[in-house]
Subunit: 330 residues, 4 copies
């Protein structure tokens, strides 16, 4: 189903950048659970643009209103539904006949037979990730209540070819100043999630996570544990050997598999890295086409665009991971 | 659902390495389509082990019997079901109390409360990929009948750290001779698949493919187009610019996005690479535990195991890709 | 999934009687289709209470706001989402400790561990059927555009034991005046829907329709064609014999099977009848329990309740039928 | 999905009357549960034809072979798969150009574009109900292990217009002797299933049961509790009033709603009745068409057909009910 994810807790995301609202439905969530909406808002704030010099000056308020499913501060067993108004939308920015390179402009027009709402990217807008943050934050709170010590954290591994975090801001500002954009790699780590979740075959932990994380615009690669480095190794180098420790508990001597064996969690940290491509909208002139005039041209796509979404993407990955976790079968 | 995949054509895979049969159900497949089972068998033969010095000496026959769904040589609208007997299974090889490093032994025992059929890896066995080859071959034949010129091909990019194909066999034999195993990277390319398939968000082409491909044991990473290299690049370097050619057809000047924009096919080649980890079973001594005696030990896991499954995995990736393609919404 | 229905066009219904909004998400609906929202509103008006002496004096406005999915008057390929504010909600009417006989009060409290929003029946409220009317009206418009002459109509067959339509109003008013309520039977007929839709087994036309129609509160029975009368008959009496007419077209001599054979439409009228139970809330004194005091009592449940919902249910059945039809596989 | 049912335990049924095997996949069933296959066989024997004078002389062996999912006598967490060979199939009986009235012959040909396996009804054959009995028997055993005292029983309420059980056999033999068939009504009762299972809206108990039970060929109506009689009643007559008994336990004074309120179980007996139409194949001459010659004719459909399947259908309803129960969300 295009806009619903999950076998256990179902997340239905909807909305388009320049329609009245975006929003999300969370179905089959346990009843009687108190939600800390301040904490949800903190995550939404971490995602939202316009916070510092490295992101777009476009402001998004990201104030969700819960319109159903919460009663006396707790989930009531009915679908949790929240909507968030789209504001600060400058529709005149958009010229649908100009195809933005590496955007969904042409694929969307074809798929939807020219009926798609192209303004601001429509349903392809990165703004929709706010829905994932909202839903994922709620899922995380619940998971944390049943898995003591659960922690999900992300760190930027690289921005462009730079791996020194102290240099990340300058790399992004360089891109911004030259009318360009830059990609990056984020590593996410989930701690204190127990052994035995996930399944072989179609519901492997890797399948569930990758399915969901590739729903985030700009993600173009994912690897678990040592990932592509595993492919360069010998078994003897990367097999996760194990032993009983002095308390006769099982402990692994390494975690090259990222906490997943046979599609099932091992109880070690779940670790994955995603590749985030550079924001496609740049003001540097690019070759493209005008569908109306059927002409080739070079165009500078101006507007308030992020030179890099990598920093803001961390919280999206963390919260979306919680949606994946809550849907792993025990 | 653990063992069923697909919104349009549903593939249910079942079986375990040492049970009587493995098999597959293909549901909601178009009626009236003639299947070329010789071609299916050719793909199964490409997958099966024991074919040359680089793979295990274990023979698998992989002769499927169709037990329903084909009438007078054509699909009849009922689920297509085929089963394949497990033969040449030497059950005495297995000592379930010895945990094989980097295998699903411990995760499976925990998840299934010691009830899992551990023989030969049970449902975690790579043998189950024969089901994907069987089903995927049928899906491919149908897709080829409606998409003229459709082609799916795979090539090995690297074995271990070696990228020269002429050296791949010796790398694998070196690993074999030293009781070790080695991983690799495979690139798959889909040609002549039209624009407009897939969806934004949860049914993105990347989501569908990655979900399915991470169901293949040993796959630990996937990247589309330039993937992780995109993350190291500037937008101006990797945006896929476009133009009208002399026939006023749209053509892209590059394909850094691997034929997918906004989760939807662009009509260019769909390109992805997967990382395959080294086969975990090696005869080199490894540290592990004996669950029965609760003791630590070093153990050499003997038996007829592949030093590398990378070569055999090509056809699995190609045919599984057809299962993904047939489930992309138009 | 509790609140999403459909394999082809997915309807997610949400909301509770006394929360800010109810609403509905329509996903995977064809793009580029113009919706006539005036026609949708006419159906909503037919459903809403407070229109005449036979229904509750409680007014519901049922004014939906489309918040996503419509662009320039047409569906745009993104989920169609509409919300409807709950107004005129008199929360003080409700005493959750008093269990209303034949309502979901006790089952809901148990299932949701006392966390459910009991006000006005919460998510069990008949008000939620407005979501079905909204979504079904849109589905119907689309179906009508592809199936020329498609018509869905309902008629009340009986109110209580009365089968003469001229007497229905007086039966309902009698029930109202005596603080009671009364049930009824509605027959729905779908004309000009083609042969070949539906499936054997789990997606039979009867399965899809009954699944959906039993989602309507108060429906307690359904029969297709002659239904329970078929069970009293001989095969020779009720088999639908057939012949070529003078134009060599196939025509049936009867329609005892209600336009469905083998779970698949025959091209004849699809006919079914549903049994609607009397509204459970009545002012006549009833024996019940007080959960707080743990005491037995007799109680008159006052309030603005329908003495019968049968007349208003017609449009719900008609529009909900369109949701079923649009989800039949061809 | 056409041939898979269930959100919690998934049943995939496959097979056709004259193909090598029918069979069933049971996925996501709890691991470590011992199955009593003798008990499963007893249920299969109750379903199979040819047991006495009131059913067809056609013998079906119904000996399932488990080919995966059972290890050391217990479920092992992998899909449970069983196949059953089709024997005693007399293919020459069938003339596909002759349309059997009230059968799926014409709808199937249309839907599957003349590719369906028409022999013996193909996938529409009542023989497929053996799969439901096999799977349902296993589900029942598991449910009984967790719900102490669970009991599912069925009784025939009527055969044709006869309601006296002592006369049922003679009614059926009368139909048989006159080359006719006869329908009937079966009531199923589920005892000792707890309160709180099922959901409002699309996963109501009635929705799940009716969806599944209308998958059984020949079922054309279903009613829960008093069903259609509720529609003829006043609220004051049929509301299920309640009280605390002397032990301060809640008890209902009646069960007009068949153990379901708001789509959720009440803890009372779950009661429903289904209408089973007369077997369509009769030897009495009937008007029909010959698709090959395009001519009208009267035809006697000879062969070994049941004059009534009602008696044999009891065990199908009981076991299929267990599939429904195991899929109710708690």
């Amino acid at each position: 189903m295009s806009n619903t994810f999950g076998d256990l807790v179902k997340i239905t995301s909807f909305g388009e950048s320049h329609q009245p609202y975006i929003g999300v439905v969370i179905d089959d969530f346990p009843a009687g659970f108190p939600i800390d909406f301040d904490q949800v808002q903190k995550n939404l704030d971490l995602r939202k643009p316009g916070q510092n010099s490295t992101s777009t000056s476009r402001k998004e308020s990201d104030q969700y209103q819960v319109i159903s499913g919460i009663f006396e501060g707790k989930t009531d067993g009915s679908p949790i539904v929240a909507i968030c108004p789209n504001q600060n939308t400058i529709s005149k920015d958009y010229q649908p006949e100009l195809i933005r390179p590496s955007h969904a402009d042409l694929t969307a027009k074809t798929k939807y037979q020219n009926s798609n709402d192209y303004r601001g990217g429509g349903q392809f807008s990165g703004r929709l990730t706010a829905n994932l943050v909202f839903a994922g934050s709620i899922c995380f709170q619940y998971l944390q209540s049943i898995h003591s010590g659960l922690k999900i954290s992300s760190q930027v591994i690289s921005i462009g070819s730079e791996t020194n975090p102290e240099n990340f801001e300058s790399i992004i500002l360089d891109a911004k100043n030259s009318g360009d954009s830059v990609g990056g790699v984020i590593e996410t780590r989930i701690q204190n999630f127990p052994i035995g979740y996930g399944s072989p075959l179609f519901n492997s932990v890797e399948s569930i996570f990758s399915h969901l994380l590739f729903s985030i615009p700009a993600v173009k690669g994912i690897e678990f544990g040592d990932g592509f480095n595993l492919a360069q190794s010998l078994g003897s180098e990367v097999n996760d050997q194990l032993q009983y420790n002095s308390k006769k508990e099982v402990e692994y001597l390494s975690n090259h598999n990222g906490g997943i064996l046979g599609g099932i969690t091992t109880g070690q940290d779940i670790i994955f890295r995603v590749a985030i491509k550079p924001t496609p909208t740049i003001s540097k002139p690019q070759k493209t086409i005008n569908l109306a005039t059927k002409q080739n041209l070079e165009h500078s796509f101006l507007g308030r665009h992020d030179p890099s979404i990598v920093l803001r993407a961390r919280v999206v990955l963390e919260t979306t991971s919680a949606i994946a976790l809550i849907n792993l079968s025990q």
